[in-house]
Subunit: 332 residues, 2 copies
């Protein structure tokens, strides 16, 4: 099969190769509408696809950015992804890849091979040195969200996770709770460790230690699975490190006839878009998810435009959102 | 900058070009572990990336499949995406693109330019003829999920939507409800129209017409927004065409002190992973989401292997999942 070239398009449209090139690269302002139409039509009729690599070297017009996330099922990432998608400039294409620790390197390799110009990591990078060396060598900038803690190694977007944990603790203490449980995912990312540290630190300053620390799977079912243990702990309140898990906890407590917030206060973390729709609606720590996504995208675009800028870190505040799942401790 | 070639890798590893090529294409069984290690090390040290186009033509080893969805926020698509991701063979890379009707064509163009070998559409295709011609010309097979109704035009994965709507109606009728409302998204995809038709048909066979048909945004907030209208309609039950909207309806009814299911039965559609965690848990129509994702992926891989097979349609059954949000009509 004869590979269609730009020459074929020029011949069919009866214009110069330069004209075709400029029009297809969105630099055809000086041509008449009729000429532009002729060229686009010729392109489509012939099925011409510009050579991607050559095109990127020359004009850098359509930039491809890859975003790697641990799971498409977690609303926190779904929200970040959607905010990037909604805010991407017209000449930027985003592709999203879901990746486990095992296939992360192969995912990166595949994206790079396809001509990706920059990467955003929304998941921890297990083999950090290898990945870093691989990308640096190929001059592919990358940005990490706060699942990776090593500030100043590259561009980062972070939220104040320590404060987030601390806000959860202060809220429960201020409601009179002292018998407080902490519910964690089995595997903690760097940011979750900070979240936990902020929580424990603030409890400790009030001379409180958790009556129970319970680990489970990072999912709604994982939350559901710890309800029995939570009830046995005699806690009057619990901080659940993640909204997904908290939703499972809420549902399980209802099934066990434990009233929230009358008999148990629950605080989640993330303020995913389900939190306000729960019954009772979930008190939680809100991260500005849309801003995080937008900021990450802007920062990596800036990096592509100015490769030699010093590394940047965008730092976002979190806030406590009080809803129905927390209340003052009732004295017997 | 000198572009690193396979020759450089061979020279550095002190082996033949054929050896490098076979090892990098996973066909290096006959070489010693030491040789393989030397080649991989040389590749990584030099930062060699094989020419994607050439590589695909010759070995078709890493296949790239693009999946286009309307939104990453809708759990139905998050579940389908995740099931594809979990089931993709090692040598298949999946990229996901979120696309509005406006930028759909540019998304497709960009993916094709990057060497995508096949596409799966999880959203309606507005300019169907143009897209079809564009892809056919480039010999890029595509598959549509059931947001597009034109069976036999290409490979498809469908569920029995008419039956789904019908099951919802039968369930409510069997519980004694006759004053039934229908809550719809503002914009209906082809499959939702079938869902609605199945529902209305089954009501009609029992001489029932909906007391109210209410449209709103396809979101939890959209569901929340119609609660007042639903209460005013004097309905004792409602079929909500989508779980997301149903979750909003449930939450709104609780705020208005309308008890579900005592005073109002609610049936959703999709059985997203939140349905069972609602309070009350949501009766809904389940689509086999994991199987849909897996089947779509398998079908498109088969198409890549056998381009001339007749078009296929995989057809999945749906089922009613009865939970707490529906109950027998209480007589006053």
């Amino acid at each position: 099969m004869h590979k269609i070239s730009i020459k074929d398009v020029a011949k069919k449209a009866n214009v110069s190769i330069t004209a075709v090139s400029q029009i297809l690269n969105n630099k055809g302002e000086r041509f008449s509408e009729e000429t532009i139409k002729k060229v686009l039509q010729a392109r489509d009729e012939l099925g011409y696809v510009p050579n991607s690599a050559a095109r990127n070297l020359k004009v850098r017009h359509s930039r491809l950015i890859g975003i790697i996330v641990p799971s498409f099922r977690m609303p926190f990432f779904a929200d970040i992804i959607q905010s990037m998608q909604d805010n991407a400039p017209e000449d930027v294409n985003l592709v999203f890849i879901g990746s486990t620790a095992d296939n992360l390197q192969s995912s990166i390799y595949s994206l790079v091979e396809r001509g990706v110009q920059a990467l955003i990591f929304g998941r921890p990078i297990p083999n950090r040195d290898v990945v870093n060396a691989f990308l640096k060598k190929r001059h592919i900038p990358y940005l990490v969200l706060d699942q990776n803690a090593d500030i100043n190694a590259q561009d980062m977007v972070q939220t104040n996770e320590f404060t987030g944990g601390s806000l959860a603790a202060s809220h429960l203490l201020s409601l009179g709770h002292r018998d407080i449980a902490l519910i964690l995912p089995n595997e903690l990312t760097d940011n979750m460790r900070q979240r936990r540290a902020g929580f424990l630190d603030t409890l400790s300053a009030a001379n409180v230690t958790p009556v129970s620390v319970i680990s489970s799977a990072l999912s709604k079912h994982g939350g559901l699975a710890v309800v029995h243990q939570l009830i046995q702990s005699q806690a009057t309140a619990a901080f659940v490190l993640n909204d997904e898990m908290a939703i499972g906890v809420l549902r399980g407590l209802t099934w066990q006839n434990v009233k929230v917030p009358e008999n148990m206060s629950i605080v989640g973390y993330d303020d995913t878009d389900y939190a306000e729709f729960m019954v009772p609606s979930l008190t939680t720590i809100a991260q500005p998810v849309a801003e995080i996504g937008q900021s990450a995208l802007n920062m990596i675009l800036q990096r592509l435009a100015h490769p030699n800028l010093p590394y940047q870190t965008a730092f976002f505040d979190v806030k406590l959102v009080v809803r129905e799942s927390t209340a003052k401790l009732l004295l017997d």
